[in-house]
Amino acid sequence: MIDLAIIGGGPAGQAAAEQAAAAGLSVAVFDEQPRPGGQIARQPPAGFTVPDWLAGRAYAEVRAQLARFEGLGGVAWHGGTAVAGLAAGADGFRLTVVTPDGAERVAARRVLVAAGCYDLPVPLPGWTLPGVMSAGAAQAFVKSQRIVPGGRFVLAGTHPLMLVVAAQIVESGGVVAAVMFDQPLGRCVARALADPLTIVRHAGLFVDAAAARRVLARAGVPVRFGRPLAAVEGSEAVAAARFADGSIMACDRVALCYGFVPQADLPRQAGATVRWQAVAGGWATAHDAWMETDRPGLFVAGETTGVGGAAIALCEGRLAGIGIARSLGRLDDAAAAGLARATRRRHARLSGFARMLAAIADPAEVLARVPPADTILCRCEDVTHAEIDAVLATATAPNAVKLATRCGMGVCQGRMCEGALLRRIAAADGTAPGAAGGFTARFPARLVPIDLLCGLDDVSAEAVAD
């Protein structure tokens, strides 16, 4: 049995591994990507040479952490490995890990879920056309696989990250037709100015956004505010973006950027308490000051605890690593508190900025709009809003709606539709989204070929639980 299994090789997982290894723990890190980095520093494949990869100052801290992590001894890296199951046992946890070659169980005394986040899905007409992708998807192609994944992009959404992604596409030789913010500029400014001290403290990040805008201005890319995306048009693939004011913009790619929601499957599977995130929704896992959940021995860090960005993830990873060493008796309380002090202060400072960014990017108005009845809400099972609404007349429990419509039954395990469904339910019965819980989290959290699972000794336990 290993001391610590970490799920997620991004900044939080790396920082935790560093602390845990320093305290003498045996550590294994699992990630679906082949190399460490997470989405923020998703590395090019090992055989690629990329001059000036993520050279910008905004990436300096995560790159430094990555370099330290890759130099660590005593940490086993398991890339290309999905964790499909997490269950608490008598003296630790049991993970079900899957590679293309097979599935196996891993036993660990402590587990850290640092699984990051994903782009908030916002159903709208045409969003299932090939060529519509999340802004994060487009950005990852540029960072890691080194392609511009389309000919002519429209970026649409509420999140300022759009500026960065658009600039990266342009600097890579791609074409961006426009960056279209849903909200008016005045609202962004007002929300930023509501907290001037935070602007001063994090001036560097505003400089980065300004640099991205300069890149776009030089390339002649319009950046517009108050331009909600109404639909994506095309028959077999994206042909144009249509906006609420009736204007139409020709393109072959639409990248959506409305914010981010935590990856929460594994903490939910293990029975940890989760809370619905206030702004963009999604389940944030609750934790104590050492990042431990209410499942003793299960820790969380980074976006899993609520979306806050890479700098916060680094802090939380450090705290979790120290906390785990402490919980295994490798550090006494005083030593742990001393190690954590500076990190706690930094975390508190960064939280103000995360809140401001969330307020600027707030997708509430977008999420309150009801798309046309034939818009697909559940992408895996092709369930439309109309089919959901028909069931909501008689049943509003998430699992009941799932059973009646198949919404959430598909291979994505509800990650793409749960938020939209919970918002429909909330609108129907006058509650807040997530108030009545969500889908029951199921095994497997990731797509697993069934023949791989058959090699496991007691897979029937999961099958029955399902």
Partner: protein
Amino acid sequence: MRIAGTERGAPFTLFVDGEEMAAFAGETIATAMLADGRAAMRRDRSGAPRGLFCNMGTCSECLVTLRGDGGARRVRACLTPAAPGLRVETGPAA
């Protein structure tokens, strides 16, 4: 479009719906398809084409069928490395 200035792995070819397609070692199936102008990766129940959405293993919109001698397997194109001679299909699941 592959970004200029990046040195990639060794070139090879694979097949998508029977057509030959170029790729470089280290690329995912999704990368090779998008660089080749192929955005559709699967078909939904109505037969409409679907393409990659998240590019990080979360949504499963990029499910393609890999045809091998031992049968067919559905994989996420955004996570699965392209490999020489691979036979990829984007039609309805077999």
